[in-house]
């Protein structure tokens, strides 16, 4: 069984069979992570370049661990200490690195569409670790794996994504993936942070968090970015916390059992209160563990696909 595409650029248009293949493959790699020696020779002899133009600790570390546990050789490239500072274009950077005979590129970049661009200018297989506000497919895949692990299914569940939807690649990839898998998806946040046409993706829109939680099985909470305050997107963190923050009181009010997820890093006591983040409702740490396994599955499926 193989994936339809030799790249992982995004979840928009990805077939249910492909998503299931990745999630099912994850199960085996999840098992590997429970062994005392967490290493398999699957990608031995393959060279993978992590091309990170945006700073990232968690995603980069997660990918690197996944790559090393598959026995691949890893090269890290971060834009701070590099030729990008000297004005080299993405195209030239990527092509130069490719000439050193590498097998796969995992890239994170601030420009939407940069992954599509990269896949057109180099021959190696490309994995999207986040392109601007467009897609972050491995995050959405690990979110879906975590949901499936908890509930035994994705279809028919009600997932609500709360926060800055307009600037979130995590939200968009989740919407694409969850809709394909048959979940009901809703978004909630201040009107200024929800794109005008989001409902055309088949998503319900709430501006009232309590209303959103009334029917949700899972709440995926996004980090609110402080820089958005400057461009008149929302007034203060205090107001955000009060009206959109997921707190213990808010969860108790629903009288329902709701699972909490967050892609991290958390702004404690802004979008998520400390006690909820650390509570039994939270699957946040499980997401981190599953993240490495999902990325191992993706690297394996893309790396062994010609």
């Amino acid at each position: 069984m193989a994936l339809t595409s030799r790249h992982l650029l995004g979840l928009e248009g990805m077939a249910k069979e492909d998503i299931n293949l990745i999630l099912d493959t994850t199960i085996s790699f999840r098992e590997v992570l429970e062994r005392p020696i967490k290493k398999v020779p699957t990608l031995q002899g393959k060279t993978i370049v992590n091309l990170f133009f945006e700073s990232s600790t968690r995603t980069r570390t997660s990918f690197e661990l996944a790559e090393r546990r598959l026995s691949a050789d890893v090269v890290n490239f971060s834009s701070d200490a590099s030729s990008v500072r000297k004005g080299e274009t993405l195209k030239d950077t990527a092509r130069n690195i490719e000439m050193m005979k590498i097998d796969m590129v995992v890239m994170r970049h601030s420009a939407a569409g940069s992954m599509d661009f990269l896949s057109r200018v180099i021959d190696a297989n490309v994995i999207n670790a986040g392109d601007g506000a467009h897609e972050h497919p491995t995050q959405a895949l690990l979110d879906m794996y975590t949901i499936r692990e908890k509930f035994g299914k994705i279809e028919g569940l009600n997932i609500c994504i709360v926060g800055d939807i307009a600037h979130s690649r995590v939200a968009l990839s989740n919407i694409y993936g969850l809709k394909t898998m048959g979940a009901t998806v809703s978004v909630c946040g201040p009107k200024t942070l929800i794109p005008r046409h989001i409902m055309d993706l088949g998503v319900q829109v709430f501006y009232d968090v309590d209303e959103a939680l009334a029917s949700a099985d899972v709440v995926n909470v996004l980090r609110i970015q402080l820089e958005r305050q400057d461009r008149a997107f929302f007034p203060t963190l205090r107001e955000y916390r009060q009206y959109f923050g997921i707190s213990r009181e808010r969860l108790d009010r629903t009288k329902r059992s709701i699972v909490i997820m967050h892609p991290g890093p958390i702004n404690r006591d802004v979008e998520l209160s400390a006690d909820v983040a650390d509570s039994e409702h939270s699957l946040i740490l499980q997401q981190v563990l599953n993240g490495v396994a999902v990325r191992m599955a993706v690297l394996f499926l893309i790396g062994t696909r010609k």
């Binding site: 274009t89 939407a112 569409g113 661009f117 467009h134």
Partner: protein
């Protein structure tokens, strides 16, 4: 230059002329118009095989990039592209380096153009409305007009301040010239790379809302009314802006506008490919905006078709979408797109096409009307409305090939132009 054009379909709507005739041009002037004409000694004879001979087309929105950006285009290559596209005149925009805010610069551009292809393409500069296009102080419009400037604009930027726009309209109206506005509220569009709509949501791309164009048009129309000034909207692209211009015309205000071929052909769906040749400002809009452009062309709300020909070098466009410069070339595909998307589809007639490409722009810019009549100077666009061809950007005369239309099949092609006692004919 003496030339006899046989079997032309001579179409001049302003003269209510649409008939097959031979045109004998001696020393750049129509000597005889009739049938079965004989050519004098040494005269070149061309059988036009029924091709249309129309009053010369003018593209009133072209970026020639010289001075300052000669790697993208020069006056020479731009005039070649114009001639190949069937234009006998272009208006060049002032966002050069230095900007055309000085009479000497305007004069030198005109002078240079006279040496390209024996001056067959007239270049009429549109000078900066404000010094350096900074939007703060008025440029010396009177001196610039004296050097050949036909209008004033700060294009590719808007005149953002209402007060400065008021003063610019006031001053320009004193000398009988229009202000051309690139209508965009930059605070709203800051960081945007495409139209705000469903596609931008699906692509997670920072976007420019159509209302950012509408509010500037609404504001400026009010100012133009207040001052009884002449105002022209560059590259109109939204249904909202078209509606505002329609209302202004109903009130008999001196408000006009132009549309580019890409804005009546492509929608923002084209951006899904992330091809940077779909990136321009104003951006490709939604289906309803494109339909509104066509309806506005049909009912006369849109007066002019102008390309906003914006050359960029290959390397400049071979970057991530948000970093790519805005703009595509258009001189060599304008006629084909207008014929294929508008005339063939019966949205406008051939006569209306000629109005929008020749008669109306010349009126707006206060350039003398072109007459196809014995004794008049010959200024002609010759085109075959039925010629089918496939766009090959590598064959463009323009230095730059940044066009999204490569490989597109079009019907209608320029065959040649006649102007200033010179001629230019395309090879194939």
């Amino acid at each position: 230059m003496d030339i006899l054009l046989r079997n032309c379909r001579v179409v001049s709507p302003a003269q209510k002329l649409d008939e097959v005739a031979d045109l004998l041009i001696v020393a750049g002037t129509f000597e005889k118009i009739g049938t079965d004409l004989t050519a004098p000694e040494g005269c070149v004879i061309r059988d036009m095989l029924g091709a249309v001979a129309a009053p010369g087309f003018i593209d009133m929105h072209v970026h020639l990039r010289e001075p300052g950006f000669e790697h993208k285009e020069t006056i020479e290559s731009g005039c070649h592209a114009a001639a190949a596209g069937g234009f006998t005149a272009v208006c060049c925009m002032p966002n050069t380096n230095p900007a055309i805010d000085d009479a000497g610069i305007a004069a030198s551009i005109v002078e240079k153009s006279r040496n390209v292809l024996q001056g067959v393409v007239d270049v009429h500069p549109v000078a900066a409305a404000t010094k350096g296009r900074e939007g703060k102080e008025l440029s010396p419009m009177m001196e610039l007009a004296g050097a050949g400037a036909v209008a004033f604009t700060d294009d590719g930027a808007p005149i953002q301040s209402a007060e400065v726009m008021r003063r610019a309209l006031e001053y320009a109206s004193m000398i009988g010239k229009p202000i051309i506005q690139h209508a965009e509220d930059t605070a709203m569009t800051h960081g945007g790379a495409m139209n705000e709509g469903f596609v931008s949501t699906a692509l997670g791309m920072q976007a420019m809302p159509p209302v950012a164009e509408d509010i500037i048009v609404a504001r400026d129309i009010r100012l133009a009314e207040y001052l009884d000034a002449q105002y022209h909207v560059a590259h109109i692209s939204t249904a909202g802006a078209a509606e505002l211009v329609r209302s202004a015309k109903a009130k008999k205000l001196r408000v006009t506008c132009e549309v580019t071929p890409h804005h009546f052909t492509l929608t923002d769906e084209a951006v899904r490919s992330f091809d940077t040749n779909t990136k321009m400002n104003p951006p490709l809009r939604s289906r309803s905006d494109v339909e509104a452009m066509k309806a506005a062309l049909a009912d006369g709300t849109i007066d002019v078709i102008a390309t906003d020909h914006a050359p960029h070098s290959y390397d400049e466009k071979q970057v991530e979408y948000i970093y790519a410069p805005f703009g595509i070339v258009g001189l060599e595909t304008a006629l084909g797109l207008a014929m294929t998307e508008l005339v063939e589809k019966k949205i406008i007639s051939l006569h209306q096409l000629i109005e929008k490409c020749s008669i109306n722009p010349r009126k707006i810019l206060h350039l003398a009307a072109i007459e196809i009549a014995e004794g008049k100077r010959a200024n002609l666009t010759l085109f075959d409305p039925t010629r089918e061809w496939v766009v090959d950007t590598q064959r463009f005369k323009s230095k730059s090939k940044n066009s999204p239309f490569h490989g597109m099949k079009l019907r209608g092609k320029a065959v040649g132009i006649i102007n200033n006692s010179s001629s230019y004919f395309s090879e194939s």
